[in-house]
């Protein structure tokens, strides 16, 4: 059984020290509430609209902040977002899963949105792979925001029978219409699809706050395998929620609806032109 806290976090833009302090406080709260895992949104250590400040807020695995997070991870597993300087001057929009004093996985965002209000490719290098990792609770995988909107990422989730998909997100509000707004619809469909059709738990941790007029809307959710919403955080407000998840529920759902690929034979995708 896993007790999980989702932090609908509001970072300071380009102030990594202040953000780290906020992370430490929330991690301590989660430990006090007997949680085993706490999940933060995309770029939670840095803020989103960094532009030329990317290099100022980047962390490498030897940094003091990462060392502190590893220390905390002896008591609680942690997913957080940061700018990762893997090689000098090579920056990634990344998120890490840290457990029992070790970084089990650093996912480097693969699909960097560079359209409309987004300009990520100008500032970040692209990750080149999706991976999964076995934690002490579940088989997990991290997809950072836009990653989850692409079919390649979903095939990876299905092929590897991932139990828990972490989606740290920084989704900006746009396209308000008569019934809600575009970004919310996209994420409701996406997370509902992944949790239902890949029969896995989905942790959608979306940030809040406003950066130079752009509103990050929150609405973080925990979806159980099968698509049921276990907990839901409010629109626009900084907040957190605690859910209890059971691996047996995933098994039960997969027996009922065995939708994930059972064999790993590669399917050939081709279009026959006539």
């Amino acid at each position: 059984m896993l007790k999980l806290m989702v932090s609908q976090f509001k970072p300071y833009l380009a102030d990594v020290e202040k953000n780290a302090e906020k992370h430490y406080q929330i991690i301590e709260e989660a430990v006090s509430a007997d949680c085993n895992l706490v999940v933060f949104p995309e770029l939670s250590m840095a803020g989103y609209d960094l532009r030329d400040a990317v290099s100022d807020v980047a962390l490498d695995p030897g940094s003091e902040i990462i060392r502190r997070i590893k220390e905390y991870s002896r008591d609680i597993s942690i997913v957080f977002g940061f700018v990762y300087e893997e090689q000098p001057g090579c920056f990634y929009n990344a998120a890490a899963y840290v457990e029992q004093g070790k970084i089990l996985n650093i996912h480097k965002k693969v699909f960097l949105p560079t359209y409309g209000l987004f300009d990520e490719k100008r500032y970040f290098s692209e990750g080149s792979s999706f991976s999964f990792f076995d934690t002490k609770f579940f088989r997990g995988s991290i997809l950072i925001c836009e990653d989850a909107l692409h079919a390649d990422a979903l095939i990876h989730i299905a092929e590897n029978n991932v139990d828990m998909v972490f989606i740290p997100a920084g989704s900006p509000l746009r396209g308000i219409g008569e019934s809600g707004f575009y970004a919310e619809k996209v994420w409701n469909y996406t997370c509902g699809y992944i949790s239902t059709n890949m029969t896995c738990t989905v942790i959608f941790a979306n940030r809040v706050g406003v950066e130079a007029g752009v509103t990050f809307w929150g609405g973080s959710k925990v979806y159980k395998a099968g698509g049921g919403i276990e907990c839901s955080l409010p629109f626009l407000q900084e907040d957190k929620c605690i859910s209890t998840l059971n691996k047996a529920d995933i098994r039960e759902e997969r027996i009922k609806n065995p939708l994930v690929l059972k064999d790993k034979s590669k399917i050939l995708y081709k279009t026959i032109m006539t």
Binding site: Y12, L13, A14, D15, D49, L50, R51, D52, A53, L173, I176, G177, E178, S179, G180, F181, G209, V210, E211, A212, G213, T215, W217, F235, L236
Partner: protein
């Protein structure tokens, strides 16, 4: 074009609260003209920060209509905020009298708008406040406003709302009907109306701008949709011709990193 006003209001109120407070300030100042844009902006500000943190100013010139002043007071009463009246005539005239002739409606209008801007930015310093912008999306796209005058502000909650959406949100928020239903005017001379001066109605131009800007329809598509070609050309010309008003001043690049070109940081850098 149709929006969910509840969501829209929540977003704009949250925007004003966060963008004000993160600067370390907790007050806003707004110039109330008696029109709907400033009434709505002030209403959103009151929801965001509370009436005690919103300082409204009516800034008439001696030829401004008394109806505008009455409407501005009506809005302030409705919102439960203080509203100070400062007559800009003495200091506007001090400048205008430098010339031995009337400088014409456009220059006169710009001088008044800039005197109001000077006043609002000055009193904002006295209140430890930011200046609230009131230019809507229609005005910003058409360039129907004074550069460094009414277009100057620190935070603008209504700049991504077409005029017709301003009316809709104002109605949703219960802003007095008299203010919503009156003909929009910059009140620069007697019987001036925005629509008379522009040569088309806000309802007409908002429909066109929405398709042209938000939906990225080209001229051929717009004509097929039933818009008049001359109207499309005129509006399109205005949008392009006024791009400069929506930009920082142009800086000549000579160094490796130049403000406004490749010295790239968010307004909220470090906040």
């Amino acid at each position: 074009m149709d929006v969910n006003y509840r969501t829209l209001k929540d977003v704009l109120v949250n925007f004003l609260k966060e963008e004000t407070e993160k600067t370390g300030l907790c007050n806003l100042v707004v110039g109330l003209s008696g029109g709907i844009d400033s009434a709505l902006a002030a209403g959103l500000a009151v929801e965001a920060l509370g009436g005690k943190h919103v300082f409204a100013y009516c800034l008439p010139y001696k030829t401004s209509s008394s109806k505008s002043l009455e409407d501005a007071k009506r809005v302030a009463r409705f919102l439960g905020i203080s509203c100070e009246i400062i007559d800009i005539s003495p200091y506007a005239d001090a400048y205008l009298n430098v010339f031995d002739h009337y400088i014409g409606n456009v220059r006169f209008g710009n001088v008044c708008a800039r005197m109001r801007m000077v006043t609002l930015f000055d009193v904002s310093a006295a209140h430890g406040a930011l200046v609230l912008g009131t230019s809507n999306k229609t005005e910003l796209l058409l360039g129907y406003g004074t550069w460094y005058g009414d277009m100057a502000s620190a935070l603008n909650p209504v700049g991504d709302l077409y005029k017709t959406q301003v009316w809709g949100l104002a109605e949703y928020m219960g802003i007095p009907k008299e203010v919503i239903e009156k003909h929009p005017t910059a009140d620069l001379w007697q019987d001036q109306t925005d629509e008379g001066e522009l040569g088309f109605s806000y309802v007409e131009v908002d429909k066109l701008l929405f398709e042209m800007i938000d939906k990225r329809k080209n001229t051929k598509e717009l004509i097929r949709m039933g818009f008049d070609e001359k109207f499309i050309d005129e509006v399109s010309r205005r949008v392009k011709a006024n791009q400069f008003k929506r930009c920082l001043p142009v800086i000549a690049k000579v160094s490796d990193r130049t403000v406004g070109i490749d010295f790239r940081y968010s307004r909220d850098w470090g906040l």
